[in-house]
Symmetry: C2
Subunit: 219 residues, 2 copies
């Protein structure tokens, strides 16, 4: 495992430093609960931020690259990226406007994204990405053929320079505000899956598999 | 209204161009349903992507700046940013691995973030931000004092150069895959609010206000 001294000057949490998390295990729990990241890269001096799906395999992130064609076109030996994953857990309502906040868990990974060229690694990466999002689905699907594999690009980003930030719990008000007569507390937020909607062209006799019944990201 | 010819070369959707949306009204509906954006900026050649809350007021985005202190320290006459808002609507399960997708709506705004310096505009911007996230909450809270206003930074980003991308509907498989015997369809995803959790130091006789009962982002 390539371990970078954490935090680096670039990943040290400056604002609200008490919310910082630098250990790998806690960071991976956040990365494993999420499955959509926001990838930042620079082209012509302009930052771009693109949402895309990802998976984690060991100490690497695998990012579905087709959404980031703009990024991939400019790269030869890798592209400098920032991969950010954010999980939103709640609105925090304090007595004062100023102390309103959100409960969240977020991870920032800085590094170089490398295009996965080797066919076997690419297949393994796509499988890892699929299993990350929806465990069990890969084996139930028609497998990728050579043409599809070629048409798919995957980026590998090593998880070496990273930090996480977490806020949990109730609002924290200034001492003199606790007598202010308003409701205060937390409105929990969670991404929930609804009932699966079967495709109209579904073959008869096929029902929704177990892995999408009660789909949840809670790990 | 400052109208930029849409799309520009930088905001033209390259991949899956059929999912592109360039009209302002549809873009604003997405911006108004979301309330957490990912702001990208460049510092020392490295892109950074930071999640933060935002509001929209007319043709401007107001971004809570305290989360982006790294960004604000480097700016004098504005900082070049990319503001991305992503709403996740579902997992799209096709018969083939290759045609798996997600239903989503996302907006990318490119522009220059300007620090709001005028005290009156800053107060109005914070109110807009608050009303965007939780309409009605501002008036129920202890108002910001001068010290708090000074300690809060707000960025204004004009919505001039932008694009949106939307995928909806069922999976689309290759013709020959419709006979592949697996379940296919959509697992809808939605961010849901749970029951409000009252702060333990709540004054007696205060119940959760109407604006957080059944809180929803559906607009």
């Amino acid at each position: 495992m390539a371990e970078t001294q954490m935090p680096t000057a670039r990943t040290r949490v400056v604002r609200e430093a008490d919310r910082a998390v630098y250990d790998r295990e806690a960071t991976y729990r956040i990365l494993d609960e999420g499955f959509v990241c926001h990838v930042g890269f620079v082209a012509g001096g302009q930052p771009f931020v693109i949402p895309t799906s990802y998976g984690r395999e060991g100490d690497s992130l695998y990012i579905h690259g087709s959404a980031a064609s703009r990024m991939l076109r400019q790269m030869n030996d890798g592209v400098v990226v920032c991969v950010t994953v954010t999980l939103l857990d709640g609105l925090v309502l304090a007595r004062s406007v100023f102390n309103h906040s959100m409960n969240y868990r977020s991870v920032v990974v800085l590094g170089k994204g490398i295009l996965v060229e080797d066919a076997a690694e690419k297949l393994a990466a796509l499988r890892a990405l699929s299993e990350h999002i929806l465990p069990g689905r890969w084996d139930d699907s028609r497998q990728p053929n050579e043409r599809e594999l070629k048409a798919t690009s995957v980026l590998r980003v090593p998880i070496e320079e990273f930090s996480a930030k977490v806020r949990t719990g109730p609002p924290v008000d200034d001492a003199e505000d606790y007598s202010f007569p308003t409701w205060a507390g937390v409105v929990p937020l969670e991404m929930k899956a609804g009932a699966p909607i079967s495709d109209r062209r579904l073959l008869p006799g096929i029902s929704a598999p177990e892995y999408i019944q009660n789909y949840s990201r809670n790990r």
